[in-house]
Symmetry: D2
Subunit: 340 residues, 4 copies
């Protein structure tokens, strides 16, 4: 009985896990098992180079989806410490790697109309990633009437909007995107958003692509209605970067380190120490969250140089999207025909 | 024959006149007649105080509409030199005057859902008026689920969006607004935009309200599809401020002054002088525009302190909208229940 | 021996305590004693109203200075939860309270030349408080030649600069301020900076004034050379607001709550629990800081709505400075003669 | 008699000419003579490529200085229509050309301390060029203590400040720069400012370098005390871009075109036409300025996309300064050791 109850509880916990990253969900799922294989119904492939690690997680069936707390589909994560730094060489490489991964995932048809959606709140720096990407995406759809045919042939019509968040507009973000999608009738939506990480070390150090849609506001604030093929009627590719951890995650990370640092000094049989180490990850997280209220519930943890980092990340992602969507146009041509 | 042709031309000119202000259209119509009455089918009322002049232009029928180059309806203009200055007393008075005029024009029902639309390009300061107003409007629609009923009873649900311009989104602004309107189903749309003036002296010194809808992008760039009751299916109140004149208007204004200054020094029979003074307003404007190309066609004329002026104007307009739409809530209550 | 050593250590700790607030130093000093009196050489007065608590700490002699880790002088702290909220009534009251406290502390002479210095990095929102205040201070010194004498008589000449931080300029901030002070020869310097707090609950909820000078960069980054009467040759009034806590403080606060929450569940004789509760405040803080490295050393904890809060705080402080320095001019006169 | 008086007047006019560009002063001087040689005491060399025209004006002696209304020294102007466009290839070429010209003019010694000064008002976009360049200059002086000697050997210590304008600080800009210079004791000052042009077509299409110092505020607002070797005690290299024309220049340009367009239609003996064409350039400009008051005196003429253009120009100039000052460091090394 107890075991079953515990099992149920564990799964609830997994589903409530506040991580938007498939690789973190994989790690958490692996922690709850004795083996370190990928969970049932999930396949994980990893490619490592000097500059980055690329992990592809396929959630293959309902079992995998249940364990991971995520819809079936493909999740590609590009991780690199260089994303945090002002390292232009690394950034160029990741731009190209992401452009290829995006092409493989989105498979945009030749003259497909693409809508790029920048989710998030432009007034809160770590949540402004989406709007900042949109401001750097090459918007071409309105040029269709004014460009010569030989240029047009090589160019995909791209539109781009930043719908804001409900606190700013008073409207569900999903409703705004749906309204625009119904008018524009794009063949593909690419949605960019800031995500929440569950490890302080991952902040601004990973880009996740997936073909499963996205829930706006995952990074900061509450999750909203999903944007995906079911709700919008067109395929949705999601691009996300973990830009914040909440305060509870930071405390949790630190306490874990503290406990393992104290392991040597403390008898393993010490009941208090036992209590702390025995707690399920999620139990501990919930406890910390409760303790942090009321002051810290609206706090988030962010690096000092957050403005510069978000600026650089938005350039990498926008360039990758531009390279993916307009492969036949040289940068020179782009500059010649597009305004500011 | 000649007369008739000239007449036709004059009317074409009037229709192509690049003024968004009904009071300027009235002035131009009066210039073309010998009398200084209001044109046929147009009524004009003026109220003057120490702080401001309020002019109400009613375009009553098709004749009036044709002469004025504007749709039938009511146009209220509040003019004040104080709008340009950092004069808080004047601004408070104009806020209240505008709130009353807006109420009279829009007649919002008790629990009406209102959509405030900030037109214009946030990257170009004098065109950023609409988006700046939207950022200061009290957005309340999303609070419906979280507020106690006694507060809700007193509050109109207000949503607010800044759809951007076609150069930014690749999508007709009207299409975006229509898509959102169809999802939101508001009872009233209030649209704010920067306008173009035909007199340098009117820049940032007038606010025009009208119940006839609005063509986005009137101030800077090209006019787009109308937003009005026909296109959106709900009444549209337009709020506009002339924030720029184009370079040709500036030159034209100056040359007019130059010619009248030279009147004394020059024989009236001088054929060159005659030629200049005889030119129709629009002919002269067109000539100047041609001469200004190619360099000045993308130039506009703006006061040095444009950022500060647009900031202040957006506060006045947003406050007037807030006072008009939420008359039963005190500022104190507003602050208590609304976030940033 | 042991005791003496411990004593020395405690004092070192106190000196290294990363708090810029005299009231926090007082609390920490009181924690280390059994009684809860003010430390020797320190007097503390508190005034409480509905809206705010004002605490005046006088550090009277070297003993007090040593215990507190702060120079001799007067420290006035105005605390209010309303500072975090968009509560205009509270803000007006605090503006006036701060204006009076500033007058009492600075005692500016009738025609004194005042230099307002906004310390901090304008690229990092919670560190941008100083520059933001400077942008709102009424600068009048350059009007001396253009104003009529009857206005001038009523007006103190005020100058204002934001010198940046060493990472931006490559120059010690103190050197820049000194260079400008030597040219301008003001009678008084008022310096504004963001501070670090040691309690998460104090973020953006307190304003501290002192007559003891200021070390630029106290809030974020390293402390720099002092700006005070000795280094600048003129009295320096410091105005500070705690706008961040570092990650270690957040963890520390949470663990303290966790420990006290667990008190009931845990035997007091449990050695691990004992170990944690016995640790000196500073020891624990240092331990946590070490554990947080390397990822969290550049992290800080900030509320989501930090941009809006810093904007409002800067308005309160700038208005208080304006009211304090220009008491004889009405707001109306100010607006009439000062540009944006 | 008349001739002499006219001559004197012409020279006064030339001295009062509101152009900051030596090439425009040359053109104006040539207009007043029948021949089209360079004026006495002035040598002019021009190099033309596909991408740009580089004109070097040497003012050799007092006669040249008097005719040109500018101090003796070297003025290098790089003109290119590509500067206005988003043409990255052109921008890279001009960056390198400017870096070389700057090296030739400034001849910075190996370990020279350089102070880069960004003049102008960051609140007014076309005047914000200087501060924007400063924000992109590689600041290295503060790294001297933390870098390994083998890196330091290759690096010039660079500091950078934006002193603001008198309307913002209440202090003469020259005084602030002098105060900082006296503390820092640099070997060379490079000062960047927005300039006023006298031809609408030159806006944002030219960069002028000179070794004669600079008068802050030349572009917008009034000229202030000179920053040059005499006033600062160190050589001053000035870098300027014409970013605005005033309204009078725009009107003047247009009227000139109008008059020449009307030449055919009008009898040359027509006295009014004669009057206009006979007016001295400066007389006409003064007349227009008077007519434009009071409304247009604070107006300026600027392209719509001014924000984007100033952003790009500031990157070109900052990069040219970085390449000139740190030739031995690769961009890779720069990125590795310098923060945001």
């Amino acid at each position: 009985m107890k075991d079953m109850k515990q099992n149920t509880k564990k799964q609830q916990n997994l589903f409530s896990v506040r991580t938007d990253l498939a690789i973190e969900a994989t790690e958490l799922a692996q922690q709850s098992t004795t083996t370190h294989h990928a969970p049932d119904g999930v396949s994980v492939h990893t490619k490592q180079t000097d500059q980055y690690t690329m992990t592809t997680v396929h959630i293959l069936n309902d079992t995998g989806s249940e364990t991971m707390g995520k819809p079936k589909g493909t999740y590609i994560t590009i991780e690199s410490e260089g994303l945090k730094e002002n390292d232009t060489f690394c950034h160029e490489e990741i731009t190209n790697v992401m452009a290829k991964a995006l092409s493989a995932l989105a498979k945009p048809k030749e003259h497909a109309v693409i809508l790029v959606v920048g989710l998030g709140n432009w007034n809160i720096t770590p949540d402004a990633l989406g709007p900042k990407v949109v401001s750097k995406v090459l918007v071409t759809r309105h040029l269709q009437d004014s460009l010569p045919p030989q240029i047009l042939e090589k160019m995909r019509p791209v539109a781009a909007v930043s719908p804001g968040v409900m606190g700013i507009t008073g409207i569900e973000t999903g409703e705004i995107v749906k309204g625009i999608t119904e008018k524009l009738k794009p063949d593909l939506v690419i949605a960019i958003d800031a995500l929440a990480a569950r490890k302080t070390s991952r902040i601004n150090a990973a880009i996740q692509l997936s073909d499963t849609g996205i829930a706006p506001g995952a990074g900061i604030g509450n999750k909203r209605k999903l944007l995906n093929k079911e709700t919008l009627g067109v395929p949705v590719i999601a691009v996300g970067v973990p830009t914040v951890v909440d305060a509870a995650t930071l405390v949790n990370d630190t306490m874990d380190k503290m406990l393992s640092a104290m392991r040597e000094q403390t008898e393993k049989t010490n009941p208090f120490y036992q209590m702390l180490t025995d707690m399920e990850t999620e139990e501990k997280y919930t406890l910390i969250t409760e303790l942090l209220n009321p002051y810290a519930e609206n706090m988030f943890v962010t690096p000092k140089e957050v403005d510069a980092v978000i600026e650089r990340l938005s350039r990498i992602i926008a360039n990758a999207i531009n390279v993916c969507l307009q492969p036949q146009i040289t940068l020179e041509d782009m500059n010649r025909y597009t305004a500011y």
